[in-house]
Amino acid sequence: MNVIDLLITIVVVTILVTIVLAVITYVAYKLRLARQPAADAAPGDELRYFVKYEPSLPDAPTKDHAPET
């Protein structure tokens, strides 16, 4: 094999291997992405810096008890 043939082989193999590796990495990324929401959805995280405000409602008449008109 002369130098030219060797260089041709290197270029062609590099192109093919790079494409295959990129596809594999993309698939790995998609797999990692698919697993991500479960790990991120730890309950209570979103309220770490906020205290949920729940106003105490006055004794307003509800529909069931409202006087009929």
């Binding site: 043939d5 270029v11 192109i15 790079t18 590796l21 990129a22 991500q36």
Partner: protein
């Protein structure tokens, strides 16, 4: 269209491309010698066309970049100019490892008056605690920290903009360090012209210890900053990068701040501003040093998000493609953006795959080799010119070889898949990149 249908359709399209190529090759192998000779001739012509497109791209960008560079050098720096106060907005989500380095760089700004508003976007690490310890006066800057429920970067930036006071707003990333002169230089460009709505700065890679980050350092100079510099010549920069951008508050308010419906809020806002008639210029001396991904998977994640975000922004403004006039520079800029985001990556991947297979099967290897050598020489020249323009270390230039050898093709495959996913509107999430403190 349901999610499953979209996934099946996108997989079918990829399968069709692969099977079609393989079927064509098998058919070509068994075709007559006369047909094979025609095929090799077609490949030869395709290689020449491909090379011509690449030469045209590189030389037009280099020429405009050179013009911008030359014009900048004849601009006399303003003396004793009044520098208006700036609000610096730092959105931060889980940046505990690096936020203090960022704030330290902000405390050293060579600028007479500025405020720093850190917006903690509901971090689950110690970002907030570390940022809070910096509240108060540091040099000429007043540091404040806000915290909010996690809502994404665009929302955090809007929160910071709304809570800030000064007539100019500097938006940056929490993982970027500014050089002391950055605010001053960006403001100088802003004050040159009242119709300038934003100044895009120069992002450089800080962590250059690994091959992957060295390649990104070169890519930022050759692949990102060179086009930005060229766009700067026609005042139609199409992305003010997240780590370093100065905005006129009036322009930001007219635009309604950042939209939250894309994954590239910086590209989206810039397109919105340019489309509204504001000039967006580039200042290469307004430098931010950023952390580049150190793992291949993280790099894929970043580029996937960038590509889809840019495509989402372009989709929102598809009417611009049909309006070359009256704003021809804007039209040119949008076309260039689409070319870089979709056309070029797909063309590059498919062409290289096709050429490699034909070279293997029909003995056209020598032709492919010379073509490849020409591409590499082109990259080396472009790297040398752009690295010199940025007064960076010339030790980066030899990496142009590896850049052409596999890096660009690798990224183009990712961009191609991102474009396909966006075409079929597949869901995606916002993942956090891993950060490491560099000092």
């Amino acid at each position: 269209m349901s999610r499953l249908t979209r996934i099946v359709l996108s997989l079918l399209l990829v399968a069709l491309m692969v099977v079609g190529t393989i079927a064509f090759i098998f058919w070509a192998i068994h075709a007559s010698p006369r047909f094979q000779a025609i095929l090799v001739r077609i490949v030869f012509v395709s290689l020449l066309i491909f090379l011509a497109i690449l030469f045209a791209r590189y030389f037009s960008l280099l020429w405009f970049a050179y013009l911008e560079h030359a014009e900048r050098n004849v601009l006399e720096p303003r003396k004793q100019v009044h520098l208006p106060a700036i609000s610096v907005i730092v959105p931060a989500y889980n940046e505990g490892a690096i936020i203090e380095e960022t704030l330290e760089s902000l405390a050293r700004m060579d600028y007479p008056a500025y405020e720093v508003v850190v917006v903690d976007d509901g971090s689950t690490d110690d970002t907030l605690e570390r940022a809070v310890s910096w509240q108060g006066r540091h040099g000429a800057g007043d540091f404040r920290v806000l915290t909010r429920r996690n809502g994404g970067k665009a929302t955090a930036l809007n929160t910071g903009i709304a809570a800030s006071h000064h007539p100019y707003v500097f938006c940056m990333d929490a993982d970027s360090r500014l050089e002391a002169r950055t605010l001053r230089r960006a403001m100088r460009m802003m004050l040159e012209d009242d119709s300038v709505g934003a100044v895009a700065g120069n992002v450089k890679v800080a962590n250059r210890g690994k091959l992957i980050t060295k390649l990104q350092a070169l890519e930022y100079i050759e692949g990102l900053n060179m086009p930005r510099r060229a766009q700067g010549f026609i005042a139609a920069v199409n992305i003010v990068p997240g780590p370093v951008g100065l905005f006129r508050r009036q322009a930001l308010e007219e635009m309604g701040g950042y939209d939250t419906d894309t994954f590239a809020e910086d590209a989206d806002l810039t397109l919105k501003m340019v489309a509204a008639g504001w000039k967006v210029v580039y200042e290469d001396a307004a430098i931010a040093w950023t952390e580049a991904p150190e793992r291949w998977l993280d790099l894929v994640q970043q580029r996937y998000r960038w590509t889809r975000g840019i495509l989402q922004s372009l989709k929102k403004r598809k009417g611009l493609f049909l309006r070359p006039f009256p704003d021809f520079p804007l039209w040119l800029s949008v076309l260039e953006m689409s070319f870089e985001a979709i056309v070029w990556p797909i063309l590059n991947v498919y062409a290289q795959l096709f050429f490699a297979i034909v070279a293997l099967l029909f003995g056209a290897g020598e032709m492919l080799l010379y073509w490849w050598i020409l591409l590499t020489l082109l990259d080396l020249v472009a790297a040398f010119v752009t690295v010199s323009m940025e007064e960076e270390s010339l030790s980066l230039v030899p990496f142009a070889f590896a850049y052409r050898f596999f890096f660009i093709l690798f990224l183009d495959v990712v961009k191609m898949f991102a474009a396909l996913d966006e075409l079929f509107n597949l869901g995606m999430g916002w993942e956090k990149l891993r950060r490491v403190a560099t000092t």
